[in-house]
């Protein structure tokens, strides 16, 4: 279902969409919709990465926000320079725990 909104945009954006619509032989409104959807998807991903970095979301919560699977979300986090902050000391403790169950 489509909703109607009215918004103000910079003239340069309007002109760009106008010329793109001529090249692509697409209606201006269609191009605006496509651009908006692409932008929102990108924004969802950026927000998810930032909120994960700040410790406000877990990986699966970030994945949900970005509309990605958990594996894809981890790929995206890595691509954005996020790394696990696990210390050597913590890993050593975890190794002892793991040794007991295998």
């Amino acid at each position: 279902m489509l909703k109607q909104i009215s918004l103000r945009i910079p003239k340069t954006v309007f002109d760009t969409v106008n010329s793109l619509s001529k090249f692509e032989h697409l209606e201006r409104s269609m191009l605006f919709r496509q651009a908006l959807l692409k932008g929102i998807n990108q924004l969802r991903k950026e927000t998810a990465v930032n909120l994960y970095k700040e410790g406000n979301l877990s990986i699966s919560e970030a994945a949900k926000l970005a509309n990605l699977g958990v594996g894809e979300m981890m790929d995206l986090l890595i691509k954005n320079g996020v790394k696990s902050d696990l210390s050597m000391e913590e890993v050593r403790v975890q190794v002892k725990v793991a040794e007991k169950i295998i």
């Binding site: 877990s58 949900k64 594996g71 894809e72 696990l86 890993v91």
Partner: protein
Amino acid sequence: MKPLLKSAIIVIPKKVYNESVERSKGLGREDAYEIESYVNKRRIEIKEASEKTTKEYEEMFNIEGGEKESLALASEFKLPMLCDDKRGMNAAKVLNINIISSIAMVKALYNKKRIDKKTALNSLDELERYGWYKKDLIENMKEEIKNVKTNITKDTQNSF
């Protein structure tokens, strides 16, 4: 995953299964098919924690999704939790749930002789390429594994 499943059964919540298999299969990720095959072989079991516990943890830690379900399951079944997520790890600490990350599992499998040195180092190379862990952490782990050989060789040499 294969060496781990030879000596242990992994229990995963339905939500994690859906996140890691159902969706990823649609994206053509190979690991999704691998997990599914272990579920079919009953080496990975899908279980659900009680609604009461999951709701309680949701409120306590303001956490959602697979991590919440995994915490609830680990807590109810008194199991350690395989996790690489920071928020999940922090919540687990509060609940006294033991955490095991992928890198620690590789080292433990090697220490317990479930995998040989080459496999352990290859697995660490793979984790390094993936890029989730800091380089120095992986390097330290590799050094520890490599040094085992050095020590054995020295001991053996000394005994002659």
